[in-house]
């Protein structure tokens, strides 16, 4: 009686064991679709919401100037691979281009002197203007921001602006310049004359097509204490700091864990924190084409308006 039963049970056990075959389910990513799989499904002929490849987006023979990517660093997406998505980046870029069609965002760099006009409910003229030197610009896509610094009445003031904030009415570049460092936060610990600019400063005109001038000024810092350990930052735009720091600090600075000499050879770090050159080219081509199109439309509009005005003037004359 028991023997056949056992046989059947064994069969079932075997069968049920089959579905418990050891499978590797990556725990952290099993609730996720891989990036390439999502892309496959977006273009799959089986998909009902199939995304057609746009002819305009495909790379063509348009030559994008090499400087274009340095003029528009805000168009580069966030480089962490597992947070990237093509469609999101595309929608983001579209929003940015729309905004750029409305407001003129000029070329500027860290070290340029700028003026920003901001809509302000409480101000008497309903707008507020601030002039200062750009000490930092960062953020990817719509998150892009820049920081202006000025000393007004002997008081250092810094304001951070979101570049795509709709409250910005006007962005002007009063003096187009570059500095030796990617960030100028050390001006906080330098004498105020290095960051003092007149609020009624007049714009300095730059020849079109000329190279952006580099201001190789070396700032003399105040004695310590500082807001950061500047001796560890390898600043280029600062006079030697050896007089201000102790022997112990000099030694500490050369410690390998602080100096991190291996970082410049770390290819993986570079891959993690930057975007592939080919992809940058693709993005910049797309942006370049769109910008040209927008400019053409603007010129056409202006031309039409000009014609209308001419017509009006003629009618008035008649």
């Amino acid at each position: 009686m028991a023997a056949p039963c056992r046989k059947i049970i064994n069969q079932f056990v075997k069968r049920s064991l089959k579905c418990f075959e050891p499978r590797v389910i990556p725990c952290r990513w099993s609730n996720t679709v891989r990036n390439h799989t999502v892309e496959k499904h977006r273009h799959s002929p089986l998909s009902s919401t199939r995304e057609l490849v746009n002819q305009q987006d495909s790379p063509s023979d348009v030559m994008v100037p090499r400087e274009f990517r340095f003029v528009h660093p805000d168009f580069l997406p966030y480089p962490v691979w597992n947070r990237r998505d093509r469609v999101r980046e595309k929608l983001e870029r579209e929003d940015m281009l729309k905004r750029r069609a409305v407001i003129d965002i000029p070329e500027f760099y860290v070290g340029s002197i700028m003026a920003v006009t901001l809509a302000d409910k409480n101000a008497p003229g309903k707008q507020n203007r601030f002039v200062g030197i750009c000490i930092d610009r960062a953020g990817h896509g719509l998150y892009h921001y820049f920081v202006l610094r000025n000393a007004i009445d002997g008081q250092g003031v810094e304001i951070k602006y979101d570049m795509y904030n709709p409250l910005l009415l006007k962005i002007e570049v009063l003096k187009l310049e570059k500095r030796l460092d990617p960030q100028l936060y050390y001006l906080r610990d330098a004498p105020l004359e290095y960051s003092t600019f007149r609020l009624d400063m007049e714009p300095v005109s730059v020849l079109k097509g000329a190279q952006v001038p580099l201001n190789a000024i070396k700032v003399k810092m105040n004695p310590r204490p500082w807001c950061r350990r500047w001796e560890r930052h390898n600043l280029k735009g600062v006079l030697p700091l050896d007089d201000y720091i102790t022997e112990k600090m000099k030694k500490q600075k050369q410690h390998p864990q602080i100096e991190k000499p291996w970082e410049k050879h770390d290819l993986m770090l570079k891959a993690r924190t930057s975007i592939d050159d080919r992809e940058v080219d693709q993005i910049m081509t797309e942006v370049y084409k769109r910008k040209e199109k927008i400019q053409k439309e603007k010129f056409q509009k202006r031309g039409q308006e000009g014609k209308r005005e001419v017509k009006k003037a003629q009618e008035v004359k008649k």
């Binding site: 039963c5 049970i9 418990f20 725990c27 996720t32 089986l46 998909s47 469609v87 999101r88 709709p166």
Partner: protein, 371 residues
């Protein structure tokens, strides 16, 4: 002994039947577990009733044959056997108690947006990719199925929704049979929504972003990011022990576990080390700010939608009463049971924006004219 043997055999038989059965009502319960259960909540082992979905592809096919198979698959699903052969189902009318089906979206990440007052806020982007209704089970039938919970009563039927179409030769026969009724290619992911019978949908109906409207509120449920087995400091944010002062082997441990007297012993639910993340979480009452119909993308308030980028998210009408009020007051019910493109008289615009949201095409916000 014999009786026990036979009984266990019968039980095994039952499970085995489920295993082989192609009944979608039984297999669809693979997907969602809303209830939090004590003990092991996550496991790498599939449950006993889970039929193997994936089949290994034979490698000895020539490229020409592989291409031929692909073409045949595309041809078959291009003109599928009409799912409307038994006529379109009658559509119910929306009442405050109606619970419609949801969609299975994919999280794309976050973007900042601005209101018309110039206030910045974060939105999460959810893409609705290739969603179809796979099956509908009416309440009385659903109450007999395995996944039914007694506290649901006989109010709810179930709708199975699938996302991301795949080629059928990648899957097993029993899995492919689930999609026979709907006449759509097999889906990579399935999920189930509880619906009231007036929101019943015919299998084979496509779902897209237009299922929701601007200004409506939705709930999002998804699996959070998995962190594996974690200690008490990372999992619960406890303080750990001191770094020095004679501290031995207690730098990252929790302190005491229980007190004395009537509070003695370790209480149930004590926060301890264990598996962190990879758990179902629901975020309720998120407003839809913006809809992109070209890419099928929803812009939803906040950055708290659970899960990583490209994670699956179940999006459905909110259950919060105070966020459903505007539907009743304005007499503006959502499309029932879903949006049908043939109903709309006007062509669908590429983008819908909330009234309070700043449109990037507009001029900058200026207060100068307000005087």
């Amino acid at each position: 002994m014999a009786a026990f043997c036979i009984r266990s055999m019968l039980l095994r038989n039952l499970t085995c039947q489920n295993l082989i059965s192609a009944d979608p009502t039984l297999t669809s319960r693979v997907l969602v577990c809303h209830q939090q259960v004590r003990g092991r909540r996550r496991t790498c082992k599939p449950p006993s009733w889970f039929s193997k979905r994936r089949v290994s592809i034979k490698q000895d096919i020539t490229p020409e044959n592989a291409k031929f198979i692909k073409d045949v698959i595309i041809e078959t699903y291009k003109k599928p056997e009409s799912p409307l052969k038994d006529g379109p189902w009658s559509r119910g009318t929306w009442t405050p108690r109606t619970q419609r089906t949801g969609v299975l979206a994919i999280k794309l990440g976050m973007l900042p947006q601005w209101t018309k007052d110039g206030k910045k806020f974060i939105t999460t982007l959810l893409q609705v990719l290739d969603n179809h209704v796979i099956n509908y089970t009416p309440p009385d039938e659903f109450a007999k199925s395995m996944g039914w919970k007694p506290y649901w009563g006989s109010k709810y039927g179930s709708v199975v929704v699938g996302a991301l179409s795949c080629e059928p030769h990648l899957f097993s026969k029993s899995y492919n049979n689930l999609f026979a009724k709907a006449g759509v290619p097999p889906k990579r992911k399935l999920t189930r929504f509880l619906v009231t019978p007036d929101a019943a949908i015919q299998p084979g109906t496509p779902l897209n972003v237009m299922h929701f409207r601007i200004g409506d509120y939705v709930d999002c449920s998804a699996k959070t990011i998995g962190h594996g087995f974690q200690g008490v400091m990372k999992r619960w944010g406890m303080k750990g022990g001191p770094a020095t002062h004679g501290c031995t082997k207690a730098h990252r441990r929790m302190g005491s576990m229980g007190g004395g007297r009537d509070k003695a012993g370790v209480w149930k639910g004590k926060r301890m080390p264990g598996h962190m993340g990879m758990d179902w979480r629901i975020v309720k009452g998120l407003k839809i700010w913006r809809i992109d119909t070209k890419y099928n993308v929803l812009y939803v308030t906040g950055y708290s939608v659970p899960g990583p980028t490209h994670g699956y998210v179940r999006v459905y009408d909110t259950v919060l009463k105070h966020k459903r009020e505007h539907l009743i007051e304005n007499g503006n019910p959502p499309p029932m049971p879903t949006f049908y493109p043939e109903d709309g008289k006007e062509p669908i615009p590429e983008e819908y924006l909330d009234d309070e949201l700043f449109n990037f095409n507009n001029e900058s916000i200026s207060y100068a004219t307000e005087k």
